[in-house]
Symmetry: C2
Subunit: 405 residues, 2 copies
């Protein structure tokens, strides 16, 4: 299941970014399981990675390579996460980088590897190595849609976003793809996300944007609270457009940032809409909190409550479960008589109990929608945070009970 | 579903403790939904209550009354939690205490009220008040099994434990009952638990035991991570036996404590075994941790992981999910090459990856069992903690999607 239409946009090609797609037969013969990004030499790349301490070998290698050189290639494989694979996993990730580097005539440190799929299985290096030359030899600017499909695992549909923005007379294009449907509670990154623009962005600005935008989008979604071992989100600036370099004091930065943020949000939301078994797209908004931490604590406690998520699946306005989740979020000194909880535009809780004007009919009307907002006004401060999640359905259990069969 | 036989024990009656059961038709006509504990005047009572800030009206009233007087009566109703009911909820809880007090000829502050059931509905006070006199007039020492059934809600079976222990020639009896199957991650208490002994325990010792034993048992179980608004666990010492008072320096205290702890554990485990949709009883043991906090962080992260719980439901030794959960538990500076993860007696993870001697067959053999231990050895310190949980099945979704229908 999935929420909303979820059709891919028309992708604007990004000058300086060419894509290659191939099949190494990692999990299933013939399945497209390899995607290669080829970047122009002037390109700059910044990224954020999972904070899971059992982070995968490709995450470690990508971090190291990113610190050494400006990347020329990104190599993504699905079907195997190369996580929980110890020393051999590191060797395997480096072997794949070396194979691509040899085929492309660059150094292995100019290649960033990314893997997604099952944890704990050895990476089938030979299959990948033998499939790479053909992929590298056949890259193209127009393959964003293919690439979006090429990085899917349990996703039921490809995820992409693309837009153009005018910077002082210069048209800048932004295109991005992401994947992920389960083991989704990104912590400093999403399952996998790749966003590219032909804007020419100063290194410090690019690094700041990659971190800030990831925090405001991918780091505000959760499907099951399980942080992946392989999360990574990369922001690529190919610098091919004719405009000036965007620096931290550039008057054009806010416009570019807003355009990039919309692409980040679209990609992050697309992951939630395609959450395993998802039938609802839920926005949890916590307002008037005393701190960002308590706002996020309340939002994630509600977003992760199996009781709230199963009530959403049933379209049951069982507001007592939301109240109970808020009450156990660990916020000291909550004023229960002051705070208010809303389902859409319907007030559920006021003065410590059910709002006088609440009726089951009004709550049901909101719950019957496919997109629902749960708003919690703590009446304690000035901080507001939003988190996006989905419901908890039979299909989530089915998908994850049968994942390896 | 439920794990294990779950038959009730033979209850040893507790001199000084008489039980009454009745039907007020709170949710369903004719259903036994009222239980009354009548305590001898010499009885002492200590208890712990939920830390959910949206705690129910009866929890607040019980806390207040317990602070004022030695209780003579405990009044438990099912079918309605009287939680999220604001000021009216407090009035309703007090009205029920007053009605019982009038029928029994005691003061309302000598009555402790407990409620469990749906949150946010007004308590049907009239039904309870009219049913109470008959219940109070017909109490008996031999009704523990009836009482265990009388406090059930979504439970599929009653829960009880009972034993006798010899204290320096004096036989002391201990009997207890509990209930709960969902919204179970007790925080300072379980859904509802009542343990009584005829031992004569000094007030300070009783208070310490109620807190320590609750922490070591009910506060180490989780079904869905949702802390109820109504949790309460009461320890009753009727003081009717012929032995000496048990003080903090009494040589008999360790023996009595051990007997009480076994009853607490049996009752706590019975809740997990009857977890909503449970098909597995899972012990998560974290050893060689540097602190209790990190041991519990790791244990609960694994215990709450929907991916781990669905793998358990599928009897799938998908150890990568356990590894990923440990990695996201927020323990700083984990030595991934030192720590070890076991499924039963089978080592899953060693040297940062799959243990050399692991085989899918050996993992499967453990997973096929109904009772499973996941052991995580952090190799960092000397602290060990255990948490008990169950798997996550289709029935959990069904039960909670249809709870109010």
């Amino acid at each position: 299941m999935a929420v909303g239409p979820g059709t891919l946009p028309e992708f604007f090609p990004i000058p300086g970014v060419r894509l290659g797609i191939g099949s190494a037969g990692i999990k299933k013969p013939g399945r497209k399981d390899l995607v290669v990004f080829e970047l122009a030499p002037e390109s700059r790349v910044a990224g954020i990675f999972t904070q899971n301490q059992f982070c995968a070998a490709p995450v470690n290698v990508s971090r190291q390579h990113l610190a050494q050189r400006a990347p020329r290639y990104l190599l993504i494989n699905t079907g195997n996460a190369n996580a929980g694979t110890g020393e051999q996993g590191m060797k395997d990730a480096l072997s794949c980088c070396q194979a691509l580097a040899s085929a492309a005539g660059v150094d292995a440190t100019e290649v960033l590897p990314f893997s997604t799929g099952v944890i704990g299985e050895p990476l089938p290096v030979d299959k990948i190595v033998s499939a790479l030359p053909a992929v590298v030899a056949d890259t193209d600017m127009g393959r964003w849609a293919e690439a979006a499909s090429g990085i899917m695992t349990t996703d039921t549909r490809p995820k992409g976003a693309s837009c153009q923005v005018n910077l002082d007379g210069h048209t800048v294009s932004i295109s991005g793809i992401s994947k992920g449907a389960g083991m989704i509670r990104p912590n400093m990154a999403t399952m996998l996300g790749f966003i590219a623009t032909d804007a020419n962005i100063a290194p410090d600005v690019l690094t700041a944007l990659a971190s800030e935008l990831g925090e405001e989008s991918f780091n505000r979604i959760t499907i099951d609270g399980d942080t992946s071992t392989n999360d990574a989100c990369m922001l690529i600036a190919s610098g091919q457009y004719s405009g000036p370099e965007i620096t931290s004091d550039s008057p054009l930065l806010p416009t570019l940032r807003a355009a990039l943020k919309q692409v980040y949000l679209d990609l992050a939301h697309a992951i939630v809409r395609d959450g395993e078994g998802a039938t609802k797209f839920v926005t949890i908004e916590v307002s008037q909190a005393a701190s960002q931490q308590e706002a996020l604590d309340v939002a994630y406690t509600v977003a992760h409550s199996p009781l709230v998520k199963t009530a959403l699946f049933a379209s049951d306005p069982n507001w007592g479960r939301i109240l109970a989740a808020v009450g156990r979020a660990g916020v000291a000194g909550l004023d229960l008589n002051a705070l208010e909880i809303y389902l859409g535009d319907v007030c559920l809780v006021r003065n410590g109990g059910r709002a006088d004007d609440y009726s089951e009919e009004r709550g049901q009307a909101v719950m019957d929608r496919e997109e629902i907002t749960i708003a919690i006004d703590l009446k304690r401060g000035a901080v507001m945070e939003r988190v996006w999640t989905c419901d908890f359905s039979h299909d989530y259990v089915t998908i994850n009970a049968e994942y390896r069969t």
